[in-house]
C-alpha cells in the first residue's frame, strides 16, 4: 500500500511539475512577496530606528526637563513606543490600525497615537495585502488550481478505471494524490518561507527581543501557513473525489475560497461591529468627565472629597492649618484625586475592553464557518501584532504611567511642606524615576492565547480528512 501511495504521489508530483502552473504560481508568489515585503521593509527599518532614537531622546527630555514641581513633570509626561517585532514585517495585523506611540501624562489615560494605516493611501480601505495574507491566499489558491482535477480529471478521462484495475486501492489513490499535491504545495511553501526568512533575518537586527524568540515566532508563523495549506490540500482532494466533473470541483472550491477568504471575514467583522457596538467617542469622554466630576448620587465629587481629605489630613498630623503640615498637602491631594481618576478610567476602559473581547469571541466563533479568520489571527499572534500583544503592551504602558505619576506624587508628599506647591525637584529626581522597559511575551504564549484558533484550524484539517476518508469509500462506485 505504501509503495503504491509513493508511486502515485511521485507520478502526481511529476505531472504537477510538467504542467507549468506550479512554476507560474511560484514566480507569481515570489514576485508579489518581494514587492510587498520589500516596500514594507524600508518603512519598518526606518520606523524602528526612529522609534529607538526617539525613545532615547524622550528619556533625555524627561531627565533634563529642568527644575520644577514634580506635578508639572507629570504633566510634561513621557512617551513610550510600541515594541516592533521583526515578524511584524510579515503580518502587520491589527498593529496597522492601532497607534504606535503612547503619551503618558497625569490625569489622563490616553489612547495610543500615530496609527500606521493613516499614513498610507486609501487603497487599504478594503483590506491590506500583507505577506501573511499573500501566503495564505496563494497556498490555498494553489491547492485549488493544482488539485481540482487530481481525481475528477482521472475520472473524466477514464484513467481511474485503469488505476483501480491495477493493484491500486481507492485509499492508495486518494492518499497518493493528496501526498503528491501536498508535496507540490510544499515546494511553494518552501519558496515562501525562504523569501520571508531572508527579510525576517534582516529585520531581526531592529527587534530588541531575543533572536531565539524571533525565530520561534517565525517557525510558528510558517507552521500556521503550512497547516492552512494542508487543510486546503486535503479538502480539495476530497472534493475532487466527491464531485464528478473537474469544472464543478473548481467552481465549488473557488466559491468556498471567495466565501472563506473575502466575504466571511468582512461580513463577520462588520456585522459584529454593528451588533456589538462601542460607545461613541463623545459618549465615552462625556461619561468619564461626568464620573470624575460627580458621584453616583449626583453630588459633586471634588467638593465633599476635598473637605474630608483636608479634615482627615489635619487630624492625622495633629495640626490646625494646611500650612503647618510636615508633608506636602499637594502630594496627598494629587494622590487622592489620581486614585479617583484611575478608578473612573479603569471602569470605563474595562467596559470598552469587555465590548472588544465580546467582538473578538464572536469573530473567532465564526471561524467555524471558514478557517481564514482563525488562520489569520494565528499569524497575527505569532507576528506579535494581534489584539492580545497590543493589549499586553498597552497594559505595561499604563502600569508605567501610574508608576511615573505615583513617583511624582510621592516626592510631593515626602519632600513638600504645608500646601506643598512651592516644592521644586531637579535632574536627580527625574533620573530616579526608572525608564520604561518592556519584555514581550514569549513565543509559546501565543500557543495558549490562540488555543481556540489552533483547535479550529485543526478541526478544519480533520473535517477535510474525514471528507477524504468518506470519499475513498465511495470512489469505486462513483467511477
Amino acid at each position: 500500500m505504501f509503495a503504491m501511495v509513493r508511486r502515485i504521489a511521485g507520478a502526481e508530483l511529476k505531472q504537477q511539475y510538467r504542467d507549468g502552473t506550479l512554476k507560474v504560481l511560484g514566480v507569481f508568489v515570489i514576485g508579489v512577496l518581494l514587492f510587498t515585503i520589500g516596500a514594507r521593509y524600508t518603512t519598518f527599518i526606518k520606523a524602528a530606528a526612529e522609534d529607538r532614537t526617539a525613545a532615547r531622546r524622550v528619556r533625555e527630555q524627561w531627565v533634563n526637563q529642568g527644575v520644577k514641581h514634580p506635578h508639572s513633570g507629570a504633566h510634561f509626561g513621557t512617551y513610550v513606543f510600541r515594541h516592533s517585532f521583526a515578524t511584524e514585517l510579515l503580518e502587520p495585523g491589527v498593529g496597522s490600525y492601532s497607534g504606535k506611540i503612547f503619551p503618558l501624562v497625569t490625569h489622563a489615560r490616553n489612547f495610543p497615537i500615530e496609527v500606521p494605516i493613516d499614513r498610507r493611501s486609501g487603497l487599504n480601505r478594503y483590506g491590506e495585502l500583507s505577506p501573511g495574507v499573500v501566503g495564505l491566499a496563494v497556498l490555498s489558491l494553489a491547492a485549488i488550481l493544482l488539485g481540482f482535477g487530481t481525481i475528477a480529471s482521472e475520472r473524466e478521462n477514464g484513467t481511474i478505471r485503469l488505476l483501480l484495475a491495477s493493484s491500486a486501492t481507492p485509499r492508495a489513490i486518494i492518499w497518493g494524490k493528496c501526498l503528491g499535491l501536498g508535496l507540490a504545495i510544499g515546494f511553494l511553501w518552501i519558496a515562501i518561507v525562504g523569501v520571508e526568512a531572508v527579510f525576517v533575518a534582516l529585520a531581526a537586527r531592529m527587534d530588541p527581543s531575543d533572536p531565539a524568540q524571533t525565530w520561534l515566532r517565525f517557525a510558528g508563523f510558517e507552521g500556521v501557513q503550512l497547516g492552512y495549506a494542508v487543510a486546503w490540500v486535503v479538502g480539495v482532494v476530497a472534493l475532487s473525489a466527491w464531485i464528478r466533473h473537474p469544472r464543478t470541483v473548481l467552481a465549488v472550491a473557488l466559491s468556498i475560497w471567495v466565501g472563506n477568504t473575502i466575504l466571511l471575514p468582512r461580513a463577520a467583522a462588520t456585522a459584529i461591529r454593528t451588533l456589538i457596538s462601542e460607545p461613541s467617542a463623545e459618549q465615552f469622554t462625556s461619561a468619564i468627565k461626568h464620573d470624575i466630576a460627580f458621584r453616583a448620587d449626583g453630588t459633586e465629587w471634588v467638593e465633599s472629597w476635598s473637605k474630608k481629605l483636608i479634615a482627615d489630613t489635619l487630624r492625622q498630623y495633629g495640626v490646625e492649618r494646611i500650612e503647618d503640615l510636615p508633608v506636602g498637602y499637594a502630594g496627598i491631594m494629587l494622590k487622592g484625586s489620581d486614585a479617583h481618576y484611575e478608578e473612573v478610567f479603569g471602569i470605563h476602559f474595562e467596559r470598552l475592553h469587555r465590548i472588544h473581547r465580546r467582538q473578538e469571541v464572536w469573530t473567532l466563533a465564526l471561524s467555524f464557518l471558514g478557517p481564514w479568520v482563525a488562520a489569520r489571527s494565528l499569524l497575527e499572534g505569532f507576528a506579535g501584532t494581534d489584539v492580545t500583544h497590543l493589549g499586553t503592551f498597552s497594559t505595561a504602558a499604563e502600569r508605567y504611567r501610574r508608576q511615573l505619576v505615583e513617583a511624582t506624587n510621592d516626592i510631593a508628599v515626602r519632600q513638600g511642606h504645608g500646601t506643598g506647591w512651592e516644592l521644586e525637584v531637579g535632574k536627580q529626581f527625574w533620573e530616579s524615576v526608572p525608564d520604561f522597559h518592556y519584555t514581550p511575551p514569549p513565543a509559546w504564549f501565543v500557543l495558549g492565547d490562540h488555543a481556540a484558533g489552533m483547535a479550529i484550524l485543526l478541526a478544519w484539517i480533520l473535517v477535510a480528512g474525514l471528507l477524504m476518508h468518506r470519499a475513498e469509500r465511495g470512489l469505486e462506485w462513483r467511477v
Binding site: 526617539a54 478594503y126 461591529r273
Partner: protein
C-alpha cells in the same frame, strides 16, 4: 429577431443566472445596510459632538446670566472658555451621496475639536480587529463583487455553447454574432444595473435623502464598470474551449484586478512616498515645551510689539495672578498660551511634512489608478460620493482656518487679560462647513474616469475582434 428573442428566453430559464442574481442582491442588501450604518454612525458622532459643545456653551451662558462660577473655573476666563471648558467643534459633513461609497467617512474622524491650546483628538474606540478585514459596504459590493458576478454571468451566457458543443451550430444559424452577444449580455447587464441602482437609491433614501445630479455620473460609471467586466467575461466565454482553464483565468483576472493590483499600487505609493514617522514632530514639540519659556517670551514680545494696545497694566497683571490660598501657584494665562503656541510653532514644519507625505502617497496611488479598473473606479466613486481624501483635506484646511479664527478671538482677550463678557458668548466664532465645487470634482474625477474608459475600450475592442474572428454573417 425571433432567434434573438429565443436567446433571451433561454437565458431567463438559466438557473445559474438567477443564482448569481440572488447572490448579488444579497450582497447589495448587506452592503447597503453597512453603508447606512456607517453613514449614520458618522452623523451621530457629529450630532453628539455638536450637542455636547452646545451644552457646554449653554451652561456657560446660564452661568454668565446668573453671574456664578462654573464647576472648574470662571466662565469669565477667556483661556478656559477657548479651550477645555468651552472650545468648539469642526465637522466633516458627509455629502448627500456618501452612502454610495463611504470612503474617508469610514476612515477618518468626522469631528475635530477646536481649542485655544490644544485640539484633542476623539479617542479611537473601535476595535482595530474590525478594521483588519476591510469594509463591506455598498462601495465594496460595487467595486469587488460586481466584477466577479459580471464575469461569471457573461462567461456563463456565452461559454455554455462551447461546452455543450452547439457553438458551430450557433455560428451557422444565420444570426449576427454581434447581435447574439448583445442579446445574451443585455439581460445580465440590465439585472446588474437595476439592482445596483435600486440599492443606491434606497441607501440614499435611508441616509441623506438628497438625490443630487451626480448620482447620474455614478450610474454611468457603474454601467461602464459593469460593461468592462461583462465584456471581459464574454471575451473569455467566446474562447472557452477548456471551461476549467477559462474559469481559472476568470478567477485570476478578477483576483489580480481587485486584490493584487490595489495592493501593488499601494506598495508603489509606499516606496515612492515612504510614510514619515511622527516621532520627529513629537520630539520637536517636547523640546519646544522645554525651551518654551524663552520662545514664549519672544512670541509675547512680538505680539505686544505688533499690538501695543493689548498690553495690560501692571496692576491688572498682579490682580489676575493673585495666588489662591492653599492652591497651586497661579500661572499667567498669557505665558501658558504663548508657551503652547511657541511649542506648536516649532513642531509645525515637521507636522506639515508629515501631511505632505501622506498627500504624496495618495497622489501616487491616484496617478497609478488607471492601472486597475477597480482602483480607477474606487477613486471615481469616492469623488462622486463626496468621500474622497481630497474632500477630507478640504475639511482639514477649513478646520485649520477656523482654528486660527477661534484663536484670534480668544487669544486677544488672553493677551489683554480681558474677561469674557456675556455678549462674547454669543459672538464667538462658529464653524460653517463649505465644500469643493463641482468643477473641482470634475477635474479630480477626470483621471480615474479616463482610466475606466481606457479599460472599457480595451476590453470591448478585444471582444469586438474575437466576435469578428468567429463571425460568419
Amino acid at each position: 429577431m425571433a432567434g434573438l428573442k429565443r436567446e433571451v428566453l433561454l437565458l431567463v430559464r438559466d438557473a445559474g443566472l438567477w443564482i448569481l442574481t440572488g447572490l448579488y442582491a444579497l450582497l447589495l442588501v448587506y452592503g447597503s445596510f453597512q453603508s447606512v450604518f456607517g453613514y449614520r454612525a458618522a452623523i451621530n458622532q457629529i450630532a453628539d459632538a455638536r450637542a455636547e459643545h452646545d451644552q457646554r456653551w449653554n451652561r456657560m451662558a446660564s452661568a454668565a446670566a446668573s453671574v456664578r462660577n462654573e464647576l472648574w473655573g470662571s466662565w469669565k476666563s477667556a483661556s478656559l472658555a477657548g479651550s477645555g471648558q468651552g472650545g468648539a467643534v469642526a465637522w466633516f459633513d458627509p455629502a448627500a451621496l456618501s452612502a454610495l461609497n463611504l470612503g474617508q467617512v469610514a476612515r477618518e474622524n468626522p469631528v475635530r475639536r477646536i481649542s485655544l491650546y490644544d485640539s484633542p483628538v476623539a479617542p479611537p474606540l473601535s476595535n482595530p480587529m474590525n478594521a483588519l478585514y476591510g469594509e463591506m459596504d455598498l462601495g465594496f459590493v460595487g467595486l469587488w463583487m460586481l466584477p466577479l458576478i459580471a464575469l461569471l454571468m457573461a462567461h456563463q451566457a456565452l461559454g455554455r455553447d462551447w461546452e455543450s458543443g452547439v457553438w458551430p451550430l450557433v455560428l451557422v444559424s444565420g444570426i449576427s454574432l454581434y447581435r447574439l452577444v448583445l442579446a445574451r449580455l443585455a439581460l445580465p447587464f440590465g439585472i446588474l444595473m437595476f439592482l445596483s441602482t435600486f440599492a443606491a437609491v434606497n441607501a440614499i433614501a435611508l441616509t441623506s435623502g438628497r438625490y443630487e445630479w451626480h448620482l447620474s455620473i455614478w450610474a454611468l460609471a457603474m454601467g461602464i464598470y459593469a460593461a468592462t467586466w461583462m465584456a471581459l467575461g464574454a471575451w473569455l466565454g467566446l474562447g472557452a474551449r477548456n471551461p476549467s482553464r477559462q474559469l481559472l483565468i476568470t478567477g485570476a483576472l478578477w483576483l489580480g484586478s481587485v486584490w493584487v493590483a490595489p495592493g501593488l499600487i499601494d506598495a508603489v505609493a509606499e516606496l515612492a512616498a515612504p510614510p514619515v514617522n511622527a516621532t520627529d514632530g513629537l520630539l520637536a514639540d517636547r523640546d519646544a515645551q522645554l525651551s518654551s519659556s524663552q520662545a514664549g517670551a519672544n512670541l509675547m514680545r512680538r505680539v505686544y510689539r505688533e499690538h501695543p494696545d493689548w498690553q495690560p497694566s501692571t496692576e491688572l497683571v498682579q490682580q489676575m495672578n493673585k495666588p489662591v490660598p492653599g492652591g497651586p501657584r497661579k500661572r499667567d494665562a498669557r505665558n501658558v498660551l504663548t508657551n503652547y503656541l511657541a511649542a506648536e510653532e516649532a513642531a509645525a514644519p515637521i507636522l506639515e511634512r508629515l501631511a505632505q507625505r501622506r498627500l504624496r502617497a495618495e497622489e501616487v496611488a491616484y496617478r497609478f489608478s488607471f492601472l486597475s479598473p477597480l482602483v480607477a473606479m474606487q477613486y471615481l466613486m469616492e469623488e462622486v460620493a463626496g468621500t474622497s481624501y481630497e474632500r477630507y483635506r478640504g475639511f482639514d484646511t477649513q478646520a485649520e482656518a477656523f482654528l486660527r479664527e477661534w484663536r484670534a478671538f480668544f487669544a486677544e482677550k488672553v493677551w489683554r487679560l480681558e474677561e469674557m463678557k456675556v455678549q462674547d458668548i454669543e459672538r464667538r466664532p462658529r464653524f460653517q462647513p463649505q465644500f469643493n465645487s463641482m468643477t473641482r470634482l470634475a477635474a479630480r474625477a477626470a483621471l480615474p474616469a479616463s482610466g475606466l474608459f481606457f479599460w472599457c475600450a480595451v476590453v470591448c475592442s478585444a471582444l469586438f475582434w474575437r466576435i469578428r474572428r468567429f463571425s460568419l454573417v
